[in-house]
């Protein structure tokens, strides 16, 4: 099976899913879907041993060869680990959803189409070597995630959550595209592998930091980092299999993947190191702090996911310090990358199982509100066991894999003491302290999650349903994950060698040529001289005390006003852009034609005046002018007087007659300037026009009946200023352009050949019907259309529709 085909396999299957759903209604559609991830897991497992030896695989599909855009599937340690997570947890989630979603009540066709679309998109993201196809799949994950969150589209909260996640992740995706394009321009290639090779030359370039920041915004929005994490808790309106799959194990890790994948390029800049580490730690602290406040099981898990993603992010940041140090320090810091990937895998296992348990609790009791739950331990013993394994692993308690990665994390933050942080000796202390506090809160909410749900008093009167153990099929997937949690604790180095080392070798290609070079060994016991051990003990102690006194200190959450929160800011921003855009457009789209005319004339004046001013365009040239004669002055005066009459008269008759006078004066100008045909036409047409005016406006009211009163003086002054501006600009341009004639007229040719070529004496008429006869043809068409239109207007009277309102005229 080719790699490209493997990526698109889920989409291809998605095409037939609706038919299966419609035609075979006796079997749950999920069983058919299950085949896809199982086949793909089997496919990707075959690569493991070769990847461990440092082999990489590549497969290319030319998409738009002329633009050098192709879908390139590249498998190395990092993308193989992600592909296995996506397909493996995908298989478990599909299995879980078969029991979770009712085949008679739910639109399963939609659900599985979206889910398969998402699976393809995710595989595409982690395997793409081409930036543009990476972006393509990235947006496909946003879209399919949007569809999945809004799966129960009749619920308001679902639609709100879907829209919010769409807005934020697509914003980030677009930023990321900008970063990709900058990278592509700087490196003159869109291939990530080629960019990694050029990384040393890219660092110094002008747009390097901008590209770095833009790509990071993409990663932060997708991976729900501070301050973009706000979409994740609202995405919990999705069906639980979706939350388990997208919002814990796969999609939110796309940002982490992106950071890991681009580390060999961007880590050469210290900005990257501090942004990734700092934002990661802040998210870790923030997420763990607010997780304790939540009362909804899935919301606790959402904030916990946010915080754990922050942890992994900060580890990736610390890992990228290795690019700035030499000697033994390289190994110390690459250990952080190792810890990051290890925790990424661990998190996928325990968080996936916890979400599924939250779904089971919801499914079997009818609520996810932790205040109503309690005492489920004896009723749901298997779920309790799985939940306990998951939460204890999340809390970092020994015997579960979370313990190992938490220890490695604390070790990694402590290793910052070897790196001179901005030349300030004690700055590094900040990082382990923040990490430690966050671990305490993680401990608290993990205990809170499992103990408040399953221990304490059973409250049957608060529950919509009578609680009982879930069907066995629903328990399979979380049980598999929980078993993995324990297995990883006991044989961590098997997983380390198989999955983590190849992935680290991909993140740190400079330090390690082949995965076997990565010499880390995971051990559960570090000896008594390990500071991390004492930090962990401190976490357990303080965490336990805080958990016991949880009711006493939770009121501090009430101190932060709701409006100050990031969600409040998001709502305010959405509201502002909505209302603001509305107010802005209704402020200038008045619906009055006069306003639009003013905009147009003002724009014309401003543009022309600005151009003339800046280009120094006004030239006046008094040579080569025709002489001024007495008649011309006389006619000019008549023209001016009749124009002024139009402006000031109150009677429409005077205005029409004055317009006629202007027309006849123009005809006199044509006579003086030796244009007999024009004079003839002008006289005739002016006569007809005046007749038309008189005929058409016989019934109209007096002209200036609207221009009265105080307000109208301002109205008139405005109009006058605009009109004056237009007039002055026209005069200036006319004078300037007449003063700088650049070429001679082509009319000499007409004058010389009018008789010899065309056989006529009247040059104007010959131009009209011979040299430029096409103009005349279409001018005839214009007249025809105008007269047909007039006939149409006068004779065709459509019957008035009932309820048409007349505009009042008072």
């Amino acid at each position: 099976m080719s790699l490209i085909f493997a990526i698109f396999l889920p989409i291809l299957v998605a095409i037939v899913i609706p038919f299966l759903f419609k035609k075979i209604s006796s079997i749950h559609t999920g069983w058919f879907v299950l085949i896809v991830p199982v086949v793909l897991v089997g496919h990707y497992v075959t690569y493991i041993s070769a990847i461990m030896d440092g082999t990489t695989y590549i497969d290319k599909f030319e998409w738009i060869p002329s633009l050098d855009i192709s879908v390139v599937s590249y498998i190395d340690g990092l993308s193989l680990l992600f592909s296995l997570l996506i397909t493996g947890i995908g298989a478990l989630v599909v299995l879980y959803s078969v029991f979770y979603l009712d085949k008679d009540r739910e639109k399963l066709g939609n659900f599985y189409v979206y889910l398969l679309l998402f699976m393809s998109a995710m595989l595409g993201v982690v395997q793409s070597d081409h930036l543009i196809s990476l972006y393509f799949f990235w947006e496909l994950t946003s879209i399919s995630s949007f569809l999945l969150i809004g799966y129960w589209y009749t619920k308001d909260r679902s639609r709100f959550g879907a829209l919010k996640s769409m807005m934020i992740t697509v914003f980030g995706g677009l930023m990321m595209l900008g970063g990709f394009v900058l990278l592509g321009i700087m490196g003159e290639t869109f291939s990530i592998r080629e960019l990694i090779e050029q990384a040393p030359t890219l660092v110094g370039q002008e747009f390097f930091i901008l590209a770095l920041v833009l790509v990071l915004i993409g990663a932060f929005t997708k991976s729900a980092q501070f301050p973009f994490y706000i979409w994740l808790p609202d995405a919990m309106e999705a069906p639980t299999p979706v939350s388990a799959y997208l919002h814990s194990a796969t999609m939110v890790k796309a940002g982490l993947y992106l950071v890991a994948r681009f580390t060999p390029i961007f880590a050469l800049s210290e900005v990257w190191v501090w942004l990734v580490t700092g934002v990661g730690l802040l998210t870790l602290l923030w997420g763990s702090f607010f997780a304790v406040k939540q009362t909804d099981l899935k919301a606790i898990l959402a904030f916990s996911t946010v915080s754990q993603l922050g942890l992994i992010m900060s580890l990736l940041g610390i890992g990228s310090i290795s690019y700035h140090v030499t000697g033994d320090l390289v190994t110390i810091f690459t250990f952080a990358s190792f810890a990051a990937i290890f925790h990424l895998m661990n998190h996928a296992t325990f968080k996936g199982s916890l979400f599924m348990i939250a779904g089971i609790v919801d499914h079997e009791t009818g609520t996810r509100d932790i205040r109503k739950l309690g005492g489920l331990m004896s009723l749901m013993p298997i779920s309790f066991t799985i939940a306990m394994i998951g939460s204890f692993s999340m809390a970092g308690i020994p015997l579960f894999n979370g313990f190992l990665s938490k220890e490695m994390f604390l070790d990694a933050t402590l290793s910052l003491q070897h790196f001179n942080v901005h030349s300030l000796e004690s700055w590094w202390m900040l990082f382990p302290i923040v990490a430690w506090i966050a671990s305490v809160f993680t401990f608290v909410y993990s205990l809170y999650f499992v103990l408040h749900t399953f221990r304490g008093k059973y409250k049957p009167d608060l529950l919509p349903k009578k609680a009982h153990e879930a069907p066995i099929g629903m328990l399979i997937s979380p049980a598999v994950l929980a078993v993995l949690v324990i297995i990883i604790f006991f044989v961590p180095n098997y997983f380390g060698n198989t999955f983590i080392k190849p992935a680290v070798a991909a993140i740190q290609p400079l330090a390690y040529k082949v995965p076997a070079d990565v010499g880390f060994h995971i051990k559960a016991w570090h000896g008594f001289d390990s500071i991390a051990l004492y930090m962990t003990l401190g976490v357990f102690l303080i965490g336990f005390l805080l958990y016991k006194s949880i009711a006493k200190w939770t009121p501090i959450y009430g101190m932060l006003p709701a409006r100050m929160s990031l969600n409040g800011f998001y709502d305010w921003l959405m509201n502002l852009s909505d209302k603001g855009a509305n107010r802005l457009s209704s402020s200038y789209m008045t619906g009055s034609i006069r306003s639009y005319l003013i905009y147009m004339f003002a724009a014309v004046i401003a543009l022309l005046a600005f151009t003339m001013w800046t280009k120094d365009a006004f030239v006046i040239n008094l040579t080569n002018l025709a002489p001024i004669q007495f008649f011309e002055i006389l006619i000019s005066v008549v023209l001016i007087i009749s124009t002024i009459t139009i402006l000031v008269t109150k009677s429409r008759l005077t205005a029409i007659i004055s317009l006629g006078a202007v027309g006849y004066t123009v005809a006199l100008f044509y006579i003086i300037f030796k244009a007999p045909d024009l004079a003839l036409t002008q006289l005739v047409i002016e006569t007809v026009s005046v007749a038309l005016f008189l005929g058409a406006f016989y019934h109209l009211p007096k002209m200036d009946k609207y221009e009265k009163g105080k307000e109208d003086r301002l109205f008139r002054l405005n109009n006058f200023l605009i009109a004056l501006g237009v007039g002055v600009m026209v005069s200036l341009i006319a004078i300037a352009s007449h003063s700088q004639k650049l070429v001679k007229s082509i009319s000499e040719y007409y004058k010389e050949t009018v008789y010899s070529e065309a056989g006529g004496g009247n040059i104007v008429n010959v131009i009209l019907v011979d040299y430029r006869g096409f103009d005349t043809l279409f001018e005839i068409s214009v007249l025809t259309i105008a007269s047909l239109g007039i006939i149409g207007m006068i004779t065709v009277r459509l019957a008035k529709k009932k309820g048409d309102r007349k505009v009042e005229n008072k």
């Binding site: 124009t643 205005a655 109209l700 002055v728 007449h738 040059i763 104007v764 239109g789």
Partner: protein
Amino acid sequence: MEILMSILIGFLFMAAVYLILSRSLLRIIIGTGLLSHGTHLLLLTMGGLGGESAPVLADGITDYVDPLPQALILTAIVISFGVTAFSLVLAYRAYKVVGTDNMDLMKGNEDND
């Protein structure tokens, strides 16, 4: 003479724009009429106002006025006449149907925005 004509044309444009900006439909159409007069004269002026004789071949004359702007203006006059006639009838019909010639009132209402 060209300078004088330019100023005169500017004045015609000014009057036309002022009329077009008013509320009465009749004044607007009169404004468009003035605007086309201004434009035609501008075409003529820009072609140059010198020249001894009208562009009709005659013996012994060599210095003709430029014929090309005249042909252009002739076309323009006819077209603007067609458009003016059309808009006049349109305005007449509009007044008959809507019952007003005040542009500010012919904005439509909430229902048909």
